[in-house]
Amino acid sequence: MSAADGATRAPGSGRARADERAAPGAREGAGTVEFCGLRLAHRVINGSGTFDVVAARAVFGAALDERFPFAAYVSKTITLEPRAGNPPPRLWEAAQGLINSIGLPNKGLEAYMDEDVPALASLTTEVPAGPAAGTSRVAVPLVTNVMGSTAEELVELVDACHERAEISAVELNVSCPNVKTGLDIGADPVLLEHVVRATRERTSKPLVVKLTPNAADVPACARAAQAGGADAVSLINTLRAMALTPPARGERRHPWLGGGTGGLSGPALRTVALAQVAAVAESVSVPVIGMGGVENTAHARDLIDAGAALVAVGTENFRDPAAAARIARDLAETGL
């Protein structure tokens, strides 16, 4: 059985264009939502790197699986080789926001496939709206987020995802510097289209490109991702930001974070996210996953009204691990 025939997917729709369907992310009769051929319980998923199901199971026990908050689960970014992450400090609390320099720690592709994928394969969640509300459970598709610094690396990662039936979709994190230019791959439309096309050819699973907000022309990058064959785009990732060590007489001040600069997330970037999501949704026909500072239903609704098919919750998970469930329930009650 090819991975693309996995139970959670409608067949053959991985490459379907949004404009061939009724509406991107249309709500179906049963109260579920269709997204790139996947059937989702609702519109709210997690931002990559902001929720670790394996760790959370040990903390919250069976309640996590019973009341799983996300309609799809996006893994943290996986790289070919294991990464320890950046030296501490990794966090700086900003005004209504968080700057992180976590540095994408992960166990590497092989250990992720061996240890984590089986543990993430059988997630289910309740449908919050429609005739099936509260009574039926649907599968929570596993989206694996991968990052590589070259097209070759990304191809190797995508090939490995394609092999696994448990993985329903792949998200490319293209916020990785190109070794030659120093520019993020995702900030250069020409390079971006090239890497998306190279990976697109390797899988029939839905391919989501997570755009970087640290680019001169984000809609141009979104169009490049679409031209390369992306099934959807997601945004925004964190905005590049920094903090300095406290002033001390006679001492030169240094970056506070172990990684030098970090990425800003949370309410502080919500309005930036809204502007970028709106601009991208106008520029492409593939569905858009919107995120950035979502804390409640009103924020999620803003992104949906700006053109997002799905909304992802990131930093708000840290304040309340059940935040996404609350937002999904309220959204469903308003008919979205």
Binding site: A84, P88, E93, L98, T245
Partner: protein
């Protein structure tokens, strides 16, 4: 060593009702009714944030909740010891009976019970004495308790513990000097003990080094900046002896001293 089960946290933050905030010298003792909270294991913590006006101050902080050791659990109430050192603790210290407080937890791995027959020595510095109170309650037998503070106002914190021997930096109360002097004397007399420690990084590092040189088991409760407290953000990294990092919130906050090369300097979420 085993014993002291780790409590499972309810899967959502919950609202607690503040029952009192009372000064204890330089500290505040915050009490809140938490009837639905599971019984914590000593050394576990909650992430706390006030329900109102959390943020919106001069610099838009606090934004994230803050970690606090559960100092005591009594008749459905949880007690916390805090000192106003920044925007989060400042806001918490302002609470009054009846106010609402968001809480998530109990979180983290707490202390392990001492092996049968082993003597327990509890050593704490500053607000780090908080988890030693619930540990003393749970041990339910005589333990040696050594605590260190800056000055007399802070030393009032020792009232949280029974029979504590006090050291102060300025000598105003008890021994003049670090509380690790008291530990050195105790271990010199009888090294057959387990040491439980919580306090500032320099104190924990002194405890770690002393226990390592005497081959005494030590459990250290660490404090690092935390954004989530349940393993989601990877922000609470602590370097491990065998390379890589621990997550203080899920692998700790209580860590076997032998797993660390040294106790890292405090890395809060803000200087």
């Amino acid at each position: 060593m085993s014993g002291f089960a780790r409590a499972t946290a309810p899967f959502a933050r919950r609202l607690l009702r503040v029952t009192g905030v009372d000064p204890l010298g330089a500290y505040e003792l915050l009490r809140a009714a938490d009837p639905h909270g599971p019984e914590p294991s000593p050394g576990q913590f909650l992430m706390l944030a006030t329900a109102e006006r959390w943020g919106g101050g001069v610099d838009g902080r606090p934004y994230l909740p803050r970690a606090f050791s559960i100092a005591r659990r009594r008749a459905g109430e949880s007690h916390f010891l805090l000192e106003d050192v920044g925007p989060g603790t400042h806001r918490l210290a302002e609470l009054r009976a009846g106010d609402a407080l968001w809480a998530l937890g109990p979180l983290g791995r707490g202390f392990s019970a001492p092996a049968a027959g082993k003597r327990a020595i509890l050593i704490g510095g500053g607000a780090g004495i908080a988890p030693l109170a619930i540990l003393q309650d749970t041990l339910g037998r005589e333990a040696t308790v050594l605590v260190g503070f800056r000055d007399a106002a802070h030393a009032r914190g020792a009232e949280l513990l029974r029979g504590a021997r006090v050291a102060t930096d300025d000598g105003a109360i008890g021994h003049r000097g670090p509380c690790t002097d008291l530990l050195a004397a105790e271990l010199g007399r009888d090294p057959d003990a387990v040491v439980y420690a919580c306090g500032p990084p320099a104190m924990l590092e002194a405890v770690r080094a002393m226990c390592a040189s005497l081959s005494v088991d030590a459990q250290l409760a660490l404090e690092t900046g935390m954004a989530c407290g349940f393993g989601a953000c990877f922000g609470c990294a602590v370097p491990r002896l065998d390379g890589g990092y621990l997550r203080a919130c899920v692998d700790g906050p209580v860590i076997d001293a032998a797993a660390l090369e040294r106790v890292p300097e405090a890395v809060g979420a803000h200087p």
